[in-house]
């Protein structure tokens, strides 16, 4: 069934601000349809008057009225397109914006299971399908239904027999066309699926040319390429024949319609019920039926598809974040203390069951202004620690406190402003350096940014870029080196002036010049702030006041760095002996 009501419920809020324009659009469309319906009547009068020998002036007047109405109808349809597109895009853009914001604020469990590609499909793809559906539905389906009813009504007015005859024909025609289309739909679906499979295969092949070539598998993959084509061909043929059948139905239907007009027309003309002009009128109206019948048939397919899109958008809007984001406590200014109080945590992706315990009764306390180096092998829970501090997740048991305030009751915006984190993998946006630094904050002043850059020793680096702060970066790594991207991320954080800084150190080796810049920036960043450094190198740990070693989600060692290093029985001192990379592999 066509989910009109669902669709309406979804869009009505977004259409409300455009109420006036919607009404105007409806008026225009109806007027246009009226023009379309009136014109054959004028031709009928013309023919009848011409045959009866009316005056030239009257005939020319009819001809001009015809032209005026026809041109008027076209002009109306242009204006209607303008209105409909504007309303459609404005309303759906609002929906896109809200949907994107809603999703962006959902918890990380939601995002972990979804690729950016999928989000593009769900936020733009589904909404665009809805918007097409809106345009199609209003203009094509409703408009054409009105046109259809109008034509049939006028035919009834002409003559009851004509009205009944053509109405039955129209209904039968529509049923036949939709019926045939439903036969062909699965064939078309199959072709689409085949081509999706083919391009999926091709994408892998194009991405793996190095592996294919170096392993001498060219012949094998060319064969598979052709195997895909072989499988595709019969489905392509069936898909095409589906179109042929549909077209054929159309041809037959209208041959039947025309024949029907001949039959009824000749009879009624013979007994004097219809004038020759009226027979031509019936003929024209029957031809005019082609358009609404064909369009309505065509829309049936899209309407069915739109149903799926609507429920996907609704599902998305119905999701809510697992985190309660309504805390209202402010964090105190200055460096923040950090406390984990018997924190236990496990990830939960989407609707899945709660996974393995990642942090197990973790407790420790860091005084304000101290710097902690966190060590542990992959999977020991280091990154999770950072994610709880930035409140990307909430613990299952226990509390995370920042400056004595539990993260759960802190005001989220405030928390995010007071806690800064730099990860290994810095994501850049396709935008200017400035927007990348401020996350598109239009209120951040260039002076403030430059001040921070000078402070971090990056002023020279920025002025070396072609357009300074206005230099456009590409997405992904932005055409910057890993080191440069990190510097950018430091600046982002510095702009927020947080009380706690979390650094997930880059594990790859950088060139010496960049490394020096980063060292300096980190020094600056940690001055008078609490720091948590997830370290991958021993050199970095020397910066820390305290050392925390995690293993399988438990704190196995926590204490002052100097003291631990001096104690030959400590794990940390053995680290210093053996080297770090070993356990981080």
């Amino acid at each position: 069934m066509i989910p009109v009501r669902q669709y309406w419920n979804l869009l009505v809020d977004y259409l409300r601000p455009h109420k006036l324009r919607v009404v105007l659009l409806a008026v225009l469309l109806l007027t246009g349809i009226a023009f379309q319906l009136i014109n054959p009547q004028i031709v009928r009068s013309f023919i009848d008057q011409a045959i009866e020998g009316a005056g030239q002036a009257s005939l020319v007047r009819l001809a001009l009225t015809f032209a005026a109405l026809a041109v008027g109808h076209q002009a109306l349809s242009v204006v209607a397109t303008y209105l409909a597109e504007n309303i459609g895009w404005a309303a759906t853009n609002e929906l896109r914006g809200e949907l994107a914001e809603h999703c962006l604020r959902l918890d990380m469990g939601f995002h972990k299971t979804r690729t950016p590609g999928e989000m593009i499909e769900r936020i733009d793809g589904d909404v665009t399908a809805l918007s097409n559906f809106f345009g199609q539905f209003v203009i094509h389906v409703v408009g054409n239904l009105v046109l259809l009813v109008g034509i049939l009504g006028l035919l009834f007015r002409e003559n009851l027999l004509v009205g009944f005859g053509i109405s039955i024909f129209a209904i039968a025609a529509l049923l036949a066309m939709v019926g045939i289309q439903n036969v062909a739909l699965p064939w078309w679906k199959r072709v689409r699926q085949r081509s999706a499979e083919f391009y999926g295969f091709l994408g892998e092949q194009l991405g793996g040319t190095e592996d294919i070539r170096s392993n001498g598998a060219t012949g094998f993959f060319l064969r598979r390429f052709t195997e895909h084509l072989r499988a595709w061909l019969p489905d392509a043929v069936r898909g095409f024949m589906g179109w042929a059948v549909l077209w054929s139905t159309n041809i037959i239907v209208f041959a039947v319609g025309t024949a029907l007009v001949y039959w009824i027309g000749s009879r009624l003309f013979g007994d004097g019920s219809l004038t020759i002009g009226s027979v031509y009128l019936v003929f024209t109206y029957t031809e005019l039926l082609r358009q609404p019948l064909d369009r309505i048939r065509h829309q049936m397919e899209d309407l069915q598809k739109a149903g799926a899109g609507i429920s996907r958008v609704e599902d998305l809007l119905a999701l809510s974040s697992r985190l309660e984001l309504n805390g209202n406590q402010q964090l105190r200014p200055g460096p923040l203390s950090v406390e984990f109080d018997a924190v236990t945590f496990a990830y939960q992706d989407g609707d899945e069951e709660i996974g393995e315990v990642v942090l197990d009764e973790v407790s420790f306390r860091v005084a304000p202004g101290r710097v902690v180096g966190v060590l542990g092998r992959t999977g020991s829970g280091k990154s999770t620690l950072a994610r709880l501090l930035t409140r990307l997740y909430d613990p299952i048991h226990g509390r995370v406190l920042l400056g004595g305030v539990a993260a759960r009751v802190a005001k989220t915006d405030d928390l995010r402003r007071r806690v800064g984190m730099v990860t290994q993998d810095v994501q850049l946006f396709r935008a200017s350096v400035r927007d990348n630094l401020t996350f598109f904050d239009p209120d951040a002043s260039n002076e403030a940014i430059m001040e921070v850059l000078v402070d971090l020793g990056l002023a020279d680096w920025v002025s070396s870029l072609p357009d300074g702060l206005d230099t456009q970066l590409e997405s992904g790594s932005g055409g910057l080196s890993a080191g440069e991207a990190q510097l950018l991320a430091f600046t982002r954080i510095f702009l927020k002036d947080p009380g706690l800084v979390i650094l997930d150190e880059a594990s790859s080796r950088l060139d010496p010049a960049t490394e020096q810049l980063i060292e300096r920036a980190v020094d600056k960043l940690l001055t008078n702030r609490t720091g948590i450094i997830i370290a991958h190198r021993l050199a970095t740990v020397t910066r820390a006041d305290d050392v925390l070693i995690l293993d399988e989600g438990r704190v196995v060692e926590f204490g002052e760095r100097v003291a631990l290093a001096a104690d030959p029985g400590s794990r940390f001192s053995r680290f210093l002996l053996v080297g770090l990379e070993e356990m981080l592999a």
């Binding site: 194009l206 040319t209 598998a217 041809i251 020759i276």
Partner: protein, 606 residues
């Protein structure tokens, strides 16, 4: 790549090449579609007879029943014709599309593997899909073109025989429409392009937003990000509305041509229709015929406009496809070949002769990445039979580039490679199993069974497969998979971890038992212990192993017969570990950053 950098492509010649590839199907299309398009002349004439019959002006008096029978015959005839034409067409189009695609993939798989696709694979796919479709469509439209022109000609001749003056007045404005459409075509393309770009920016922004959702959240930047997203959406609305309105205007122009044409017929016919009864200059039937033909003729003109646009689009499509060929002439796209869409398969070319490796020599090998100054410069090296050579250096020193240039996966700018003393001409085709096999740093597996991924068409016994898997330290992973070797991998099957992918790729290499094993840095996904086990098994399972390996790990360096230290694209030092620890500062630096004593390799002190 910008337009000026594009090689000019002979669109017409290429389209001719396509027609020559499937001449009979094309000829069939030409005849069948012309008939399909000309046939609608018939119902026009029947309707004229009908109206003239009613007003008693028919030249031949058919009864209504006869006319109805004609209509039925017309309907059935055209349906039959459409069916045959469609059937012929689908085979024609499929063959044309397959030829273009097959020629492109064939060329891509003959190019140096590391740079076989100029942009991203996703971008290349759009060329395989959309550009091919554009060309198919353009070639197909040539036939429809002929058909509609034939229809219009017939229509004009018929109408002129009825009333030449009215015909002239009605059809002359159509020429004007062609000109308008032609003019508007450029603008449509500009608007369309702008609309595509605006959409690209919106989808790009969504992708970026959700690709870096963590940093946005941590940065507390949701609000500003959405603000920016809304700005992009708004920009898109503007260009979209502009594009759609322009289209709607053009559409209106075409329909108004019909409408105003009809009005002209009415005005001109006003006088001619006056004298009723037999002998009228212009009958109701004539009027019906004029209006009917006018609609079709306008469609035909519309069609000419579409065709011109599509022909141009095909030119762009050919250009974009030719870019994928990277240097081969555009004619390569339409080189005829047996597509093997049915029947028996031709034999796959057998692998080259093994030719026992005695020595591999590289002299003066240089490669610079286009548009940069990074790469490798004048690299000399030798690999002797049975030796273990390790290439090391810091990130960006050119290790991977060296392996790729040597194997022909990148086309070296200068330098020569000798295999047993003989110069290798086409390195990309020469360095394949059983001579060499290679595991890239980030290997790719394909969406098929694990077994197919290992063999990739090779025929090997189960024992051999099992042995290769064991050598690659894959057997515990395999044991955990319910379907074993038949497990499907990839996005539609089981997602493997980075380490599993790398070990599968190693097994894929082992199963080929090449003369020379080439590994690029196993350390990115394997821990030290596993890497070490893999080396041990490789040497234990094979009698003579010659290998060339990128690594910075101590166990590999210690095992090496020869270490090559790369720095900024050049070889900085060559020697054994003990020599280099004395002579090379760079190696000492690399060594010191690696984990400590040997006991560290096997036990982790936590």
């Amino acid at each position: 790549m910008n337009a000026s950098a594009r090689a000019s492509v002979p669109t017409f010649k290429l389209m001719l090449g396509i027609v020559r590839f499937a001449p009979w199907r094309y000829a069939g299309n030409a005849i069948l579609w012309t008939l399909v398009w000309v046939m609608p002349v018939i119902p026009g004439l029947i309707s004229k007879e009908f109206f003239d019959g009613l007003t008693g002006e028919a030249s031949v008096s058919f009864g209504v029943d006869t006319l109805i029978a004609f209509m039925a015959a017309y309907g059935l005839g055209r349906v039959a014709l459409v069916a045959v034409a469609m059937l012929n067409d689908v085979y024609f189009r499929f063959r044309v599309g397959s030829l273009l695609r097959r020629n492109m993939i064939g060329r891509i798989l003959s190019l140096p593997g590391a740079r076989a696709v100029p942009d991203s694979p996703g971008e290349a796919i759009s060329r395989f899909r959309d550009e091919v479709e554009h060309v198919e469509e353009a070639v197909d439209l040539t036939v429809d073109m002929v058909g509609t022109v034939a229809f219009s000609t017939v229509a004009v001749v018929v109408l002129a025989s009825i009333n030449a003056q009215i015909t002239l007045f009605v059809f002359a404005p159509l020429v004007l429409v062609i000109l308008i459409a032609e003019r508007a075509g450029t603008r449509i393309r500009i608007y369309r392009q702008a609309a595509r770009e605006a959409t690209g920016r919106v989808t790009g922004a969504i992708g970026e937003m959700f690709g870096s959702v963590q940093s946005i959240k941590v940065g507390g930047a949701e609000h500003h990000m959405i603000g920016n997203f809304r700005v992009l959406n708004e920009a898109r609305r503007k260009v979209m509305v502009r594009d759609r309105v322009l289209n709607s205007i053009l559409e209106s122009v075409f329909w108004n041509t019909v409408n105003i044409g009809t009005a002209i017929i009415l005005v001109l016919a006003a006088g001619a229709m006056q004298s009723s009864g037999s002998g009228a200059e212009f009958t109701v039937g004539d009027f019906a015929l004029f209006v009917y033909f006018l609609t079709f003729a306008t469609d035909a003109v519309h069609f000419v406009g579409i065709f011109i646009a599509r022909f141009r689009q095909a030119g762009v499509a050919f250009e974009r496809m030719a870019e994928l060929l990277q240097g081969a002439p555009p004619e390569t796209l339409v080189v005829p070949r047996d597509l093997e869409l049915r029947g028996a398969w031709s034999a796959v070319a057998p692998p080259p002769d093994r030719g026992t490796l005695q020595s591999l020599e590289v002299k003066g090998l240089s490669y610079t990445y286009p548009g940069s100054d990074t790469g490798i410069e004048k690299v000399d090296l030798q690999v002797a039979r049975g030796s273990f050579t390790v290439v090391t250096g810091r990130i960006g020193s050119g290790k991977t580039t060296l392996l790729r240039a040597l194997l022909g996966l990148l086309k070296p700018d200068t330098g020569e490679v000798r295999w047993n003393g003989r110069i290798v001409d086409d390195a990309a085709s020469f360095f394949v199993p059983p001579r060499t096999a290679y595991t890239p740093q980030i290997p790719r597996l394909f969406s098929m069974s694990l077994k197919d991924n290992l063999l990739m068409g090779l025929e090997r016994s189960d024992d051999e497969v099992a042995a290769a898997i064991a050598s690659a330290v894959m057997e515990p992973d395999l044991a955990a998979m319910a379907e074993g070797l038949d497990t499907k991998v990839g996005p539609l099957g089981v997602r493997l971890s980075g380490g599993q992918v790398q070990r599968t790729a190693a097994a894929r290499m082992f199963i080929r038992r090449p003369e020379l094993y080439v590994f690029d840095d196993l350390s990115s996904a394997l821990d030290v212990e596993t890497e070490n086990t893999l080396w041990e098994r490789l040497f234990a399972d094979h009698q003579v192993v010659t290998s060339l390996v990128v690594s910075h790990r101590r166990p590999a360096l210690r095992r090496a017969d020869q270490i090559i230290v790369m720095n900024e694209g050049r070889i900085e030092a060559v020697g054994t570990l003990s020599e280099l620890l004395v002579t090379s500062e760079e190696l000492r630096r690399l060594w010191s950053e690696e984990p400590g004593e040997d006991n560290g390799a096997n036990s982790v002190p936590v």
